[in-house]
């Protein structure tokens, strides 16, 4: 067996295979040995192909596990399971890989220490990459306890002795992971501490290297000199790698601290180190792009991301090995590029890049949210274009006839709120690529067209994923079950059912309205109890989990809005209600109340609509947060606007709308007057005023109003 191993390490895979085959024939009946030999045979075969056929290798390993899992324990299948996990990891099947590694980590104490450390280390890496912070912390504690914590007696004896061999290398790898984790949790001081520790180890290694160099000069005439040289070369290489890692750790640290100037300098230094490494260059340009984007320079960031994508495409071009595949960070770079394009107000291009990012980042709710946002932005752009084309931004649609029979046709239907199918006008991905990032190739990316329907699906996906992740966090942290977040679909369906029932009841008997409201109140009470539980959970949420909560809330808000655009008030109301149950921040609560109110109006329940609008009135104060600038003329409300009088004006107009529905024209007119005092020139306010005059048969007043606002009255143009 030793011989086979030696042949394997010398990359003589054919000979090693022959050796193992011979051993396999000898040990019939010993299952444990057979498993190991078979897995070695498969490994030799896999290495022989230059790691190009991972699926075949994985299939063999699966076969071994399936055949022997009933007779043997997980401990005996440890290496096979680990190899399965590593292939799945490189194939970016993270969930599968995680479940396999988790099973190994559960029995880490009884595993071979080498295997135990590698399993725990890979699992930790996986968890950090997927932002599973609490699980990562647990794993760090486990690794520390199992592999780096000597008992009191050992400490006394060893004192400050250096760690040796594998342990030293593992310690460095583990420290790198700890730095990454600390940065993920925004614990900068902790990260700095680990960087110092890493630096110390590096310095010690340097001292050792110098000692060895002295020895080497003494042994120059020794026939074994050549071997020592090679050993030293390896050591140098590993030290270089180590230095590079340390530089990168520093970079992470600086990035997290937003010290952009220092960061770019550090990057310039590391640039000289590895000149022909595509993987390095792709990460370098991507990170440089991140720096520029943080520095509010999206144009230059896009340039770097483009270069990062080109460097990344080289990785796959070189050799199609599994290791290169795992180094391919196209999805991550594409996601960053998408963010950059959103800032550059190019939602169509951004959409395509986010779609590309989905290949690996499909389980991140934020990607789905960005996709939905791109569709919405594009939707707004098309409405704006259409308005400009048809002069639809005016209150008057057209003027027909002349003289005594001249008639003014008012703007109807295609208002700012109305949905529009953007499929017809969407531009193909090829056009975008050729126009903007022409030298990049994106083969094999499924191109979906942008539409409100897709936006609604994307929003639903973000809700499902963030709910699932939050549920996992809750279960892990508080062992909290039963009353926490339920499956979104089932809940929406339940709400839909109840809404349909409400609708039917309304049709049958108006008298039952009061009872229904009681029911609503009861259901609200039930919801409240759920919400309190969730709230308790959220108090203990980490920064990362807070982001998840934000994703969930924003997803629900988007779904509610998009559903209204798609004229689906039932889904709009159910998602708005669900969002309100989560006690969102005031800005979202305000919007959710408005959406719920509109949905209620469409579902013929103005009474409930009025309740929602009055709730929105109460939620006005909001702490202003930095936001991207949205196209204001398209009714996109930013938190800043929410805090301004505009939200009051919106509430007044909507309240007037509901009152008109309830036939209370007099009170409605008071609200409209209130709105017109705040924003006299707003087209929405003017439309409401004109409507009021026309319902009161004051045609002349309505005309005067239209004429008073000259910009909205295209009389002269039409006459021409």
């Amino acid at each position: 067996m030793d011989l086979a191993h030696r042949l394997f390490t010398q990359k003589k895979y054919n000979e090693a295979s022959q050796q193992i085959s011979a051993l396999l024939e000898e040990c019939k009946g010993n299952n444990k040995k057979i498993i190991k030999l078979k897995s070695h045979l498969a490994l030799c075969g896999y290495m022989k192909t230059g790691c190009t056929q991972p699926e075949e290798y994985l299939e063999t390993l699966n076969g071994i596990v399936n055949q022997y899992s009933q007779d043997l324990k997980t401990v005996d299948l440890g290496y096979v399971i680990y190899n399965q996990a590593i292939i799945n990891y490189q194939l970016k099947r993270y969930q599968k890989s995680a479940s396999q590694l988790e099973s190994l980590c559960n029995i880490v104490g009884s595993l071979d220490p080498y295997l135990g450390f590698e399993s725990a280390y890979l699992f930790l890496k996986l968890c950090i990459e997927n932002n599973h912070i609490s699980q990562s912390n647990d794993l760090v504690a486990l690794i520390e306890k199992q592999f780096f914590q000597s008992n009191t007696l050992n400490k006394k004896q060893k004192g400050s002795e250096l760690l040796t061999g594998n342990q030293n290398k593992n310690k460095q790898r583990f420290l790198m992971m700890k730095i990454k984790l600390s940065l993920c949790c925004s614990e900068h001081s902790k990260a700095a501490l680990f960087v110092n520790q890493l630096q110390e180890i590096k310095n010690r290694n340097l001292q050792q290297q110098r000692l060895q160099e002295n020895k080497q000069s003494q042994q120059k005439e020794n026939p074994r000199g050549k071997l020592t040289e090679r050993e030293l070369f390896n050591k140098n290489l590993s030290l270089n790698m180590m230095r590079c890692k340390i530089e990168h750790s520093k970079m992470n640290l600086e990035e997290a601290k937003n010290n952009l100037w220092k960061l770019s300098k550090t990057m310039e230094n590391s640039k000289t180190e590895e000149r022909n490494n595509s993987s390095f260059w792709s990460s370098f340009y991507n990170n440089l792009g991140c720096v520029d984007l943080k520095n509010n320079k999206p144009g230059s960031a896009l340039f770097y991301f483009k270069r990062a994508l080109i460097a990344n495409s080289q990785i796959c071009k070189n050799e199609k090995t599994l290791n290169n595949f795992s180094k391919d960070k196209r999805s991550e770079i594409m996601y960053n590029t998408g963010l950059c394009l959103i800032l550059l107000e190019k939602p169509q291009n951004a959409f395509q890049f986010f779609q590309g990012a989905l290949v690996c980042l499909y389980n991140r709710p934020r990607v789905w949210i960005r996709l939905a946002e791109c569709c919405l932005l594009e939707h707004f752009r098309l409405i704006k274009d259409k308005k400009q084309k048809n002069s639809l931004n005016r209150l008057v649609k057209r003027v027909i006839g002349q003289g005594q029979s001249r008639t003014v046709i008012l703007q109807t239907g295609d208002g700012p709120n109305d949905g529009l199918n953007i499929n017809e006008e969407s531009v193909s991905f090829e056009d975008i690529v050729s126009s903007d990032v022409g030298d990049l190739q994106f083969h094999g990316i499924p191109v979906q067209s942008m539409s409100l329907d897709y936006a609604s699906k994307a929003a639903s996906n973000s809700i499902l994923i963030s709910e699932k992740l939050l549920k996992k966090v809750n279960n892990q942290k508080q062992k909290f079950s039963g009353t926490n977040i339920q499956n979104k679909n089932s809940k929406i369906n339940e709400n839909t059912k109840s809404l349909n029932n409400e609708k039917n009841e309304k049709k049958r008997e108006n008298e039952q309205e009061d009872e229904k409201q009681k029911n609503d109140k009861n259901s609200n009470l039930k919801n409240k109890s759920t919400t309190t539980n969730i709230k308790i959970d959220h108090e203990n949420l980490s920064k990362n989990d807070q982001t998840l909560k934000q994703d969930l809330e924003h997803g629900l808000l988007l779904l509610s809005y998009i559903s209204l655009c798609c004229q689906n008030p039932v889904t709009a109301l159910s998602s708005a209600k669900m969002l309100l149950n989560y006690k969102p921040e005031p800005y979202r609560e305000y919007l959710a109340n408005i959406y719920a109110a509109e949905a209620c109006c469409l579902l013929n329940n103005p009474k409930l609509a009025k309740e929602y609008i009055s709730k929105s009135l109460q939620k006005r104060r909001y702490q202003v947060e930095k936001l991207l600038k949205g196209p204001k003329d398209l009714e996109m409300m930013s938190p800043k606007e929410f805090e301004s009088n505009w939200s009051d004006c919106v509430t007044a107009l909507n309240l007037a709308f509901v009152l008109i529905l309830q036939n209370d024209i007099q009170t409605a007119s008071e609200y409209i007057k209130q709105a017109s005092r705040m924003f006299p020139n707003s087209p929405l306010v003017l439309l409401s005023c004109v409507y009021l005059e026309l319902t009161n048969n004051n045609i002349q007043n309505a005309l005067d109003l239209l004429k008073s606002c000259h910009a909205f009255y295209p009389l002269e143009n039409s006459q021409k």
Binding site: H40, D112, P113, S279, N323, S405, V408
Partner: protein, 442 residues
Amino acid sequence: MNSFLQLEELTKLQKLLHDQSTPFQNLGRKVTQNFSNEQHFSVCSVLTIMLRDDLLPGEERIVALYLLLHLSPLGSELKTDEKQKQQQDSKNKKKQLLSVALPPFLPVLLNIAQNSQKFNETQFEAFFVTIGLSDPNSDLFKQRPNQIGVNNIERLKKYFPESSKIDLQVIFTKFSQIESEIPLVNKMGIGSSVPDPEKGKESKKNVEDLIQYQFNTNEFKPPFVRPSPSILQILDNELIWIDYEDETLLPIWDQSITNVKSNNDQFKNLLKKAFTSQLSQPEQQQIILRLENEPKLLEDSEITPNKVKDLAEKNPIISFEILKRFSEDEEKINRYLESFIQTKVTLHSMEVINKLSGVVKKLNQEFLNRFVSNCISSCREIKDKYVQGRHVRLVCAFIRSLMNNSQLDVKSMYTELQSFCVNFSRIRDASNLFRLIKNQMK
């Protein structure tokens, strides 16, 4: 299907509306000849818009109403004979009729007809529509439009049927039922055309204007403002930072097969190592886990009582784990404990016995007495006062722990314990222990 009429078709329709000299019934026939069945909906739409937005002069409105009546015939289910009416139970009939679908443009006509319910009101159009709905074959429609004249209600009255051939009441009930089902939002719209006559100018309206009109199917409603959510802020940690990784993750060779022949061998080797040197914590953990999973491993491991004693010095935790597993067999455990008496008492041996006393129900009393005696005498043998004091404190803690675990019979050792406490009364722990012993003796 194109729901709008082309310029040519609109001209045809306008001609029909202008024609005042052809009887109504002939106009109806002409409209069915000039327009295909598929176009009827578009014709009705255009007529409805014209009526709603008041685009036609009075005489043309009447023709438009007739054409609408002609193109929206009521189903035969709604028509009733006088005899049938008497025979059938009126309630059942009404129920049956309520389930019948109404033509799509009938509500427009019914809205106009509703005004004729009170006879004292002189509403010409309402009368005209009511006659049309009640008796589509009325003699009125054999007349020419210019024969009737506009707003001449007296002339219409003679055509008003004494008994309607169609139960209008049923239709009105159905109409109100349908109307109640229409959402309030859909009902709040008003006509979007506002007459804005220019003074001193002649009226000019042509077919081109009509084309523009027919696109104006939507109604004017006040806006419900729906602000869209803003884009989610790009957070600092949202940008994906890529760490350069030189580490190549490859499947690993199962080295356990080359280093140690089997897991059992591995265990034996580790145990062998434990007799001579201290194990690292992972190694200790590995042994403990193996012992937990496979207690039978101890049977083949050739552990002698003396080896256990040695083990206690190097790896007390493992020694304790092994003794714990032997404790089920009283004879065996006594044999192994004997080795602890034969050698010098150490901190580690005390630690092992102390831990054992917490796990085993009742340790051999004779062994305990001898071991405690050894502990006491070991204190006396130490000459260095500092080391002696430390050792006495440890022995006191050990004895107290045994007493707490109800393992030690104080009575049988009272004299020895008393002299120990008196001898070392300068140490606070010893005097405390003495107090405890005395209390227990009481």
